[in-house]
Subunit: 139 residues, 2 copies
DNA sequence: CATTAGATTTGAAACATTCTAATCTGTTGA
DNA sequence: TCAACAGATTAGAATGTTTCAAATCTAATG
């Protein structure tokens, strides 16, 4: 009955992604995936880990975020020049971006309908289509 | 008959935007707006200016790009972590992003139809809606 | 043409991110 | 169980982009 061990789901998730479940990766996975969907920067996650008495270097945080992204456990969101956000929601969705605060919020994929899209130019194939809805504070 | 003077259109454009038509701003405006629509980074524009024997510091390039953006002469496009592109096309359009090369290409606004969009959350109002179509090399 | 608000410049600083080389640790198979 | 090794982690240096600060310059005005 593996499912009753506290870390088993995360361990399995890492193994399925082809990543060794090391102490650091497990700690970061815990911070990332247990609280529900989140958007974090590397620096934020590093600070959180430090706050929770997990010793993880910033370089490892970067490595881990990129590995997780490459394996489809995270999605990188680029909306803010000079800072990358990583999104734990890898499903079909888009984003509200609050320009004032720099915050991101998920928008369910069903709430955005793309009725028409151009074809991919010759020699390329369509990847992800990202919709960012920028918001300003109402005045 | 001002319109016959070579720099008059650019001078007017800057003045209308409330910006003093200084030597540097005119030189950069010339590089940006005369060849048609373009996507440039600060570093690229600085190199171009240097190549054309225009003495402009990198700080001024950054200042100018941001001022032009604030005044609606340019549009900032964020697709690449750690680098900002500035687009001289400020009309209704979206972008192809070639992940392999990092190149951007305009997609006319009419080629993308957003049939459904969520409402802006309370206290905010809709800004720009950006659609980025990521492309991978066909294999 | 003198004044001055605004623009420009250089160089340093601030940031985020990546790299490097040394050390450590899960995993594997004996 | 444990030795061996591929892979992971680390600190700190390095890189690249962007911003800042203070001194100098210049376009616009009267």
């Amino acid at each position: 009955m593996q499912a009753s061990r506290p870390f088993a789901p995360l361990v399995d998730r890492l193994k399925q992604a082809g990543l060794r479940p090391t102490r650091q990766r497990l700690a970061l996975a815990k911070l990332l995936f247990e609280p529900g969907f989140r958007h974090v920067t590397a620096e934020q996650l590093h600070a959180e880990a430090a706050g929770a008495n997990m010793r993880v270097s910033l370089a490892t945080v970067y490595n881990t975020l990129h590995q997780f992204t490459r394996q489809g456990l995270l999605r990188e969101v680029v909306v803010d020049p000079g800072r990358s956000y990583f999104d734990t929601n890898t499903g079909d969705h888009h984003h509200f971006f609050f320009e004032e605060s720099g915050d991101l919020q998920d928008v369910d994929g069903a709430e955005v309908q793309l009725a028409r899209l151009p074809e991919a130019p010759a020699g390329t194939k369509l990847g992800r289509v990202e919709v960012v809805i920028r918001l300003q504070r109402q005045k």
